[in-house]
């Protein structure tokens, strides 16, 4: 397909052009495995034990941003949701809603990214769907992925298991994805600007399965950032969380853009991070293992679970004072993931 060819409405009509589109873009990349022969649904072997099942839709603007594109997010987002539920990701569905006029070249790059991300994660795109909507009705491209994974029996993740003294760990610097997208939108040019952190974290979870008894809870800090996730965790609970501002892991470019835009990085999405709450005794070993893996190079302890300030997330600031880390309120950042 040539570089300046555009998606037409007819590509979604179900006729000749649809077949051509599916052959050239979908089958060419994903045609081995359950998608061979393009059945209406994938018939898959049933894993032992319990399943983890999740879905996510992706509406990021712009479609391509420093460090990745909507295709990467679509794979990593769903893989990570399975992983933080204590599952091994196995299969994905891939649904595309394409706006008439999207260049084929963009679609090709996105789908190449879906393919390479899926391969790198060891997951298979097993089924999917493609629709085209008229110009003005779709904003380029929307993607949905649903994922099935096998639940790992070593994990029993529950907020109720969280105790005073537990450690709050994260596998790397916060907020890179959201600030990379915002910088791209606001024409903040850069020499070494923020790059999206989009990445799979399931191997980090697998690496600590034998410590499952010490792992209380996990979440990935996407929309609303670490502040949203941590407030969800403490909301209505009998404990609080205390963080120290000087210990927050942030990349320099991300800090710079957050300063320039006046945005709190704790409110900004990451797409390759997991927040894991564990018994204090297990924290050093978990960090040691994560540091040995590329996805965990910048892993750090974000904070600690406390008995006071129940139901609240508190930050000890650089000045030594204490202040609340609230759920992000007001006009939030749209179309980040």
């Amino acid at each position: 397909m040539s570089g300046d060819k555009l998606i037409q409405l007819a590509h979604g009509g179900g006729g000749w052009l649809t077949r051509e589109l599916i052959e050239s873009e979908i089958v060419a990349r994903f045609g081995n495995g359950p998608l061979r022969g393009l059945p209406d649904g994938a018939t898959l072997p049933s894993p032992r034990g319990q399943l983890v099942f999740t879905t996510d839709s992706f509406v990021v603007q712009p479609l391509e941003f420093p460090g990745g594109n909507i295709g990467h997010l679509a794979v990593h987002g769903t893989v990570n949701d399975i992983a933080v539920c204590g599952g091994v990701p196995l299969w994905l569905s891939l649904a595309l809603i394409i706006e008439e006029g999207l260049p084929f070249a963009v679609l090709a790059r996105v789908l190449d990214s879906v393919r390479s991300a899926a391969d790198a994660c060891g997951v298979t795109v097993a089924t999917g769907d493609t629709k085209v909507v008229a110009r003005g009705q779709g904003d380029g491209l929307y993607v949905n992925t649903a994922g099935i994974g096998q639940a790992l029996p070593e994990f029993a993740l529950s907020r109720e298991r969280i105790r005073e003294g537990d450690c709050v760990l994260v596998n790397g610097p916060l907020a890179d994805h959201g600030l990379a997208v915002l910088a791209a939108r606001q024409n903040i040019g850069f020499v070494n600007g923020p790059q999206s952190d989009t990445a799979p974290i399931h191997r980090l979870v697998l690496s600590v399965r034998d410590l499952g008894a010490s792992v209380r809870f996990m979440r990935d800090p996407t929309r609303g950032g670490a502040a949203a996730v941590l407030n969800e965790i403490v909301g209505g609970a009998g404990f609080g969380i205390l963080m120290r501002e000087r210990d927050l892991p942030l990349n320099p470019a991300t800090r710079a853009v957050s300063e320039m835009l006046g945005i709190d990085p704790l409110h900004v999405a990451s797409e390759g991070r997991v927040i894991l709450i564990c018994a204090a005794g297990a924290a050093p070993e978990i960090l040691r293992r994560w540091h040995a893996m590329p996805e965990g190079a910048g892993a750090a302890c974000l904070g600690v679970v406390t008995r006071d300030n129940t139901g609240r997330v508190v930050l000890e600031t650089l000045a030594g004072g204490r202040r609340l880390v609230d759920v992000p309120r007001g006009e939030l950042l749209p179309r980040i993931c």
Partner: protein, 78 residues
């Protein structure tokens, strides 16, 4: 933010740790690349007096050292 360059149209490119943003220079005089700017709503409203800034930073660094030495002597006491 540091003024990285002045464009042909007279606007400046200000930089913070590698991230650059366009800044209007109408309110400041005679700035050249390397100067530090105070920016508000996309306009440079003043230049940073680096000598004064360095002096204040030295003062703060001295204070930080006082804490460190006080902590050491506190820890040293039986």
């Amino acid at each position: 933010m540091k003024l990285a360059e002045i464009r042909a149209d007279g606007k400046g490119l200000a930089e913070l740790d590698g991230c650059r943003h366009v800044v209007d220079l109408s309110l400041v005089n005679g700035v050249s690349p390397g100067a530090y700017l105070i920016v508000h709503a996309g306009y440079a409203i003043e230049t940073l007096d680096q000598e004064s800034a360095d002096a204040t930073l030295s003062l703060f660094e001295e204070m930080a050292k006082e804490v460190a030495s006080e902590t050491r002597s506190a820890n040293a006491e039986p």
